[in-house]
Amino acid sequence: MSALIEARHLTKVFGGGTLSRAKGVVALDDFSLTIEEEPPTITAIVGESGSGKTTFARLILGLTEPTSGEVLYRGVDMRKLNRNQRQHFLRDVQVIFQDPFEVYNPFYRIDHVLEEPIANFHLAKSKAQGRQLIADALTSVGLRPEETLGRYPHQLSGGQRQRVMVARSLLLHPRVIVADEPVSMIDASLRATVIDSLRDLNRQFGISLIYITHDLTTAYQLSENIVVLYRGSVAEAGDVEKVVKEPEHPYTRLLIGSIPRPDPRHGWGYEEKGADTTNSGVASLGCRFADRCPNVMSICREKAPPLYQTAPHRATACYLYADAPVAASSKLNDIFVPLSQSPQITPNLAAAAPVNGANGASAERKTL
């Protein structure tokens, strides 16, 4: 078992340079996570805006450089990849961004973003096969190919544009997909369909997912393990069943209590009164949630709590659980629930997609 992507002690501080008087904003603070080559996993990173979840996505994609710490791809620092390794990285790791507006060039038709990866990575043997791949991908995200292709981005709704992006990453069958709020702009009735296709990617093609969201409901539906971030630090992590059903950290409890349940008899949970949730982000000594926490103690303002391992597959950074042993924050993966079943890569599926299949493609990809 070797690590495909390994984030080690990632810290990202925005602003606060030597010439600036203002303190920097700590977007992510000493965060470590590993995505193994096998088995394919689904990990949810959950938090509000300003929690650092998108910063983490950008860091592991190599779109921004960490202030300290490093991201390794197959054991090599992202900043030191050679041309060949970088080529593999670009195919192995795909991303679906939050904002489906910025990723399109308004002068090109929608077809362009779908034909590009097919051409770049030689996914199809003929033009007709390419069209078929595109049509299948679009259909699987709930779009009508005949009504989508040939259009310009401004002619599609935000939701439709986002679904084209999901379709685009379906085309490539990479090893890891970083999905940053992929369904937040999609109608509720279609979310289930998109969540299903993401899950299929994982189960049928053995693709790992890093699912970044503010929506605990879809995170629960999709993931095995979850990391709840608050202002750049891990508040709670572990088995999604436990974290969602019996949240420990006061912040996780607030998040889950704020979800409007689709049941008029189930009252809306407790409302946080008067608090302004603007993220000052300025590094403070104690727990970052202390100002909003209903259970705040004096120690919370003095020193940030470590992660306490409160159960076999969960850890919480809160002094309420100070009796539990301390877990190393750099070893989040040791807390996670290991996958019980081996990946269900059915042989016929692997055989059916020899050109673009993810499995065993590494040998093939060497020839690219």
Partner: protein, 334 residues
Amino acid sequence: MNSSILQVHDLRVHYHTRQGVLRAVNGVSFDLAAGERLGLVGESGSGKSTTAYAVMRLIRLPGKIESGQVLLDGLSLLELPEEKMRQVRLAGIAMVAQGAMNSLNPVTRVRRQIEDALRDHDVKMSSQERREWISDLLQRVGLPPSAADKYPHELSGGMKQRVCIAIGICLKPRVIIADEPTSALDVVVQHQVMATLEKLRAELGASVILIGHDMGLMAQAVDRLGVMYAGNLIETGDIQEIFDEPLHPYTKLLMASLPSLEEKESARGIPGMMPSLLNRPTGCPFHPRCPAAFDRCRTEEPKMQTVRTRRDVACHLYTPDTATVPNTTVLEAS
């Protein structure tokens, strides 16, 4: 005469595009009782926002309100001259639009933006009175009075949305239309903003039309729900009753598509897609996706009919309940 504050009857909005006539709102009728909270729910393209914009008479070309009637407290809005309608907006019926927080002018302070709304509606106030009213408004939406002297970029998303709500209620409207007011906000902030809106609605005695696609939010925030599909209202009823027993097959599928926090992989997406509004299928617009469709659905479009007390549905599976009086009459009586 009756207790309904807003009556919408057979509203039709068409977009005249090069590809043909797009029927975005196709004969929508509903009544809104004084103080009532009505939710309009549907997928994108179902016509829920267009309905709201038509009620406000804010449809722009190539869109056009083809026919219908909108009565606000007996005043027929669609027949008013434009200048009179401009006065009714905000004063009689206000709208908090989707992403309204991004509509704030970035280069003027919050105070100035509220004053503009007051001045535009010829509100006569001394500067002292105006100052007090603005700080009162801001406090009502849960902001400190000092927020008036801030620029929008100095406020968080939730605070900006509260400023928009403050502008929305500054003339004490009878009806507030909230079009996905929290879709751009975090879940914790969403809860706060919705609680603020509800508190204000109760204080003003106003009615609210909440537009959105989040059934969870609807369950927590409205009394009555209208489900829209392809430009039609296809089911209305009390929120609890619809959640207990959805009648229209589309509503049933919509309920089943909700991801749950209790059970994994229970959600089922609705197969197929909303038909293109340019060429609506004949008969019921939902029949191509409907698991219960039969021959009649393909040829004859079902009309809204009252099948139970306060339950209207447009589906051939149901026959009108002759024992119950029509929905509107019940509203009048209540």
